[in-house]
């Protein structure tokens, strides 16, 4: 009797609710049995159920399309961000390059006036002691050194000049100084030229290294921004009694040097 009463309760329950419970997965066992029975025997019930099932399918189809488009949007975002960050990297790299170039240009064009005078007046003294002979076998270290000097390989020349037997000779030191000056290594050049410029050995100075050293020493001081010392060297050049080497040029420089 209890069972019958319960069954009556179930039957009077809204058929709508039954279908709703199906879709929320909350049908009890008894309700499920009733549900299946109605599905088989009640045409209207079946129609309503099928309609809602198709509705659910239809909604799922639409929603999946929408969400999929959203996900494709995420995918596109990912790729776009990669492209953008590459462009930014490229822009940043360009800016760095421009800044670096600018720095060097700035350095070059704002060289001090003495440095500019050095640049416009300096050229390594030509090799007058060891004219290079091509294809000579058994070339000595010294000839190799001057060969390198003529070719502008100043580091190589310096190395070789450091290995010659008479490396303390004036002319060896002089040409080594030329190499250093060509490499903008002012102090090394000054250290080499100074003894030559103040050497008292007039008689052995066949090539007048002393007079030439004065000129180059002057230039070296200019490149080193030691203007006063440069001036005194150029004065020696101008006033040299028996050597005209670079006298006019020295005078011109003296007029160009702005007195500090």
């Amino acid at each position: 009797m209890f069972e019958t009463a319960e069954r009556l309760n179930f039957i009077t329950m809204n058929k709508e609710d039954l279908i709703e419970k199906y879709f929320t997965d909350t049908l009890s066992n008894e309700e499920r049995i009733l549900f299946d029975k109605l599905l088989q025997n009640d045409q209207a019930f079946k129609e309503e159920f099928v309609f809602q099932k198709e509705l659910k399918q239809s909604i799922a189809h639409q929603q999946r399309e929408t969400i999929k488009r959203t996900l494709q949007g995420f995918e596109a975002n990912l790729n776009r961000k990669k492209v953008i960050s590459f462009k930014y990297w490229l822009a940043a790299a360009s800016v760095m390059l421009i800044l670096t170039l600018g720095y060097f240009a700035f350095n070059k064009y704002t060289a001090s006036q003495p440095e500019k005078l050095f640049t416009s007046n300096f050229s390594p003294y030509e090799n007058v002691v060891h004219p290079t002979v091509r294809n000579s076998n058994n070339a000595s270290i010294e000839s190799k050194a001057f060969s390198a000097y003529d070719g502008g390989s100043y580091y190589k020349a310096i190395n070789l000049l450091n290995s010659v037997e008479n490396k303390e000779a004036d002319y060896i030191r002089f040409y080594k100084a030329m190499c250093f000056l060509a490499l903008d290594k002012n102090q090394e050049a000054i250290d080499l030229l100074l003894p030559i410029a103040t050497s008292p050995n007039e008689s052995s100075d066949k090539y007048k290294w002393r007079a030439k050293a004065n000129w180059y020493l002057g230039l070296a001081y200019l490149n080193n921004n030691e203007t006063d010392r440069a001036k005194s060297q150029f004065n020696v050049v101008i006033n040299h009694p028996d050597c005209d080497f670079k006298k006019e040029e020295a005078k011109k420089i003296m007029s160009q040097i702005k007195s500090d």
């Binding site: 709508e16 709703e20 879709f23 929320t24 997965d25 309609f51 809602q52 198709e54 509705l55 659910k56 399918q57 239809s58 909604i59 799922a60 189809h61 639409q62 929603q63 999946r64 969400i67 999929k68 959203t70 996900l71 494709q72 995420f74 995918e75 990912l78």
Partner: protein
């Protein structure tokens, strides 16, 4: 710590938070792609399957099949993905595989065919008419039939005074839709 953040994620997925979805999408994408490409499918197919996998994963959450993350999302995604990749590779009818995916690590059972793949003309017609329904109706129906909300939850979310009011509204929407189909 990890467990707490995972739980929050699951709730956020249920709520339909777009930024959470994007986070999940982005953080699992690369590892899923390597996994999928290992089966020998091409990149476009892999991405397509990844997106379908995300949707299936999400549907398992909204339908209540997945109530907590017992392991990392990537585990679930790979389990589902593997199924879908086999589907693609064998090119069999979807019903030949019964849609059950078992997560080896936790023995949980997921369903890849929560919604049947078939899309009939009638469904298309329903879809068309559905778009013509008012926003209110569409909202209720989408929340109920796709997002897995109970009537109580919908009543709260859409600001209905009580469940019964919502229920009668839903009935009216269904009737309106049915009438427009006939």
């Amino acid at each position: 710590m990890a467990g707490v953040s995972q739980k929050i994620h699951l709730e956020a997925i249920r709520k339909g938070d777009s930024s959470v979805l994007e986070t999940i999408y982005k953080s699992n994408r690369d590892s899923f792609l390597s996994f999928a490409l290992g089966f020998g499918i091409n990149r476009d197919d892999a991405l397509d399957i990844y997106q379908d996998t995300i949707i299936a994963f999400r549907e398992n959450v909204t339908s209540g099949k997945l109530t907590e993350l017992k392991c990392a999302p990537s585990t679930y995604l790979c389990a589902i993905g593997k199924y879908k990749i086999f589907q693609l590779l064998r090119r069999q009818k979807p019903n030949a595989l019964d849609g059950r995916v078992i997560v080896e690590e936790t023995k949980e059972v997921l369903d890849v065919n929560l919604f049947e793949e078939e899309y009939t003309n009638r469904m298309e017609l329903i879809g068309k008419q559905l778009k013509k329904l008012g926003n209110r109706c569409r909202e209720i129906l989408v929340l109920f039939y796709y997002e897995g909300y109970t009537l109580d939850e919908i009543a709260i979310k859409l600001d209905y005074s009580n469940k019964l009011v919502l229920k009668s509204q839903k009935s009216r929407c269904l009737k309106q839709l049915k009438d427009s189909i006939l």
